[in-house]
Amino acid sequence: MSLKNLQKLLLVLLIAGLTVSVLSAVAVKAEEGTISDYDNVKAEQVINDINSTVSSSVGEGEIKYDQNYTTYRLTVSPPSVIIGNPVTATAETDNRRVTHIIFIWVNPYGVIKKIETVSVSGDNWKTAQSTYQPDKLGKWVVFALFVNANSCRWLYAMRWNCFEVTGITQQIPDFPVVGTAGAMTTMLLGLGLFLNRKRQKPI
């Protein structure tokens, strides 16, 4: 293939790639919509509050966006879990206007890993649960947004709680301690031996 043809092929690939990328970027909007604007609070403020909470490393707390209703709870069970095992967050409130609770799971690097909207159940105490299997070691934060999603889009409060993800020594039995770096080094040694064997071979 000549250089000109290669350039043409690359250009075609690029145009195709750009089209796909732009289309996918439009699709992102739908995912963004999970934390949307409320009548009393903008989504941007909620995201800022989540970010500042994660960076402040405060273990547990609450931000109220509506002062009329007071009791909100969020419990995480178990508070310490081995990596890969499920953790359940339970949110409760006596605010009868709350119809849904949005659970946001944030990993130790401050990355949102799951957003789940759950309808509340119960009469006096409205409760909702969300479960997640953490895949990174460290301190995770789970947020619960207490919202009314029926008549008006209203955010009452946001509570958060932390849990610790601990690891068992997950060794690759093929390469204990050294891991895949050990495998690569072994392969490099193999290549060295192969080249050495070739050099010593009489012509």
């Binding site: 350039q7 250009l11 799951k114 690759i172 093929d174 390469f175 891991g179 495998a183 072994t186 080249l195």
Partner: protein, 356 residues
């Protein structure tokens, strides 16, 4: 000592003549550091903690080795760029480069809104590097160091869903194959694949039973990841046809799969003959490294015999470029295909003229 001092004296002259390229290369490094600093920090942390990602720590070394080996072709392609700048397609490379940078940006941006931002950000890195090389240098330069850029793909941690799916399938296949071999040799073993990871239950002569669960860690997926990265590195140093290069991957895949089945079979057999402790302590810990060493040797030998591959390291061992003579006639001192051989002549001629 004098020779060493002479080499140091060459540095200012080299810097003076190549300052624009050194500036461009520093600019690439600075840009990568600024844009990807946070992701690289997280990645380094992960690579130090997780054994399955530790190969990432070796990527700078492999990229560095390849860049060093390809330095002559790299220099030649840059010089060629200045010679061909006045051609009709002078903005073609820049246009493609900018488009690649834009695609990288879109992937980065898209990834920031997903649950896998690190993976998407790092996936955009090789595209971004390719784009910036095209903008600052040319397509020939990118072609010269494409394998080094391709190696950067391996810094992307594979999402756990893919790892679990592939690893699970490999573990199932390997365990079943191992079980069939054990049965052929008359080892009293039973296979359980109904729930969770596949398990081989071994009944010892004393009636005691031992279970061997082949999980994700034992499935061989990490060996294959390391092999594929090494095979990409091999592409830069082997001489063969395109089919031969693809053949290395296929051949290696089958060899490493066979060795993993052999490893599982050997561990279970060792437990049956010598006892569980010997199997787990000696075979289980050492077998992986030994078989990887054998595996890569077997792959290289088989590639040489079956695919007629030739491993070439360094310029001394490189055979003369078949295009050199024909292209030299066209461009006097320059080979468009390899650049290296003719470049040396050109440099020698230039210095000779300067002395005159």
């Amino acid at each position: 000592m004098k020779r060493l001092l002479g080499k140091f004296k060459c540095i200012p002259a080299f810097l003076k003549s190549n300052w624009l390229h050194i500036l461009a290369e520093s600019f690439i490094l600075l840009l990568i550091t600024v844009v990807y600093w946070r992701d690289l920090e997280i990645l380094a942390n992960e690579a130090f903690q997780a054994e399955e990602l530790s190969h990432i720590l070796l990527i700078p070394l492999f990229v560095g080795i390849l860049l060093y080996w390809k330095r002559d072709i790299f220099k030649a392609s840059i010089s060629l760029d200045s010679m061909q700048k006045k051609s009709r397609n002078m903005f073609m490379d820049e246009l493609i480069g900018l488009s690649l940078c834009l695609i990288a940006f879109l992937i980065y941006w898209y990834g920031s809104y997903t649950f896998y931002p690190l993976e998407y950000h790092l996936l955009s890195l090789p595209i971004f590097v390719s784009g910036i090389i095209l903008v600052l240098f040319n397509l020939k330069t990118l072609k010269a160091i494409i394998i080094s850029v391709a190696l950067l793909i391996f810094i992307v941690p594979i999402p756990s869903e893919i790892t679990y799916t592939l690893g699970g399938n490999l573990a199932n296949f390997n365990t079943q194959a191992s079980y069939i071999i054990l049965k052929c040799f008359g080892v009293p073993a039973t296979l359980n694949v109904t729930y969770g990871s596949p398990t081989i239950m071994l009944t010892k002569p004393q009636g005691q039973s031992i279970s061997f669960t082949v999980g994700l860690q034992c499935s061989g997926i990490y060996t294959l990841t390391a092999f594929f990265m090494f095979a990409v590195f091999l592409l830069a140093i082997v001489q063969t046809s395109a089919i031969g290069k693809v053949g290395i991957f296929i051949l290696g895949f089958f060899i490493f799969e066979a060795l993993n089945i052999l490893r599982i079979t050997a561990i279970v057999s060792a437990a049956y003959i010598f006892g569980e402790e010997v199997a787990m302590l000696i075979f289980h810990s050492a077998a992986g490294l030994i078989l990887t060493f054998i595996g890569i040797l077997a792959t290289l030998i088989a590639s040489e015999k079956l695919l007629k591959t030739k491993v070439i390291i360094g310029r001394n061992e490189a055979p003369p470029c078949p295009w050199c003579k024909r292209l030299q006639e066209k461009f006097q001192n320059f080979c468009l295909n390899c650049g290296t051989h003719s470049l040396r002549e050109t440099t020698q001629n230039q210095s000779h003229h300067r002395q005159k």
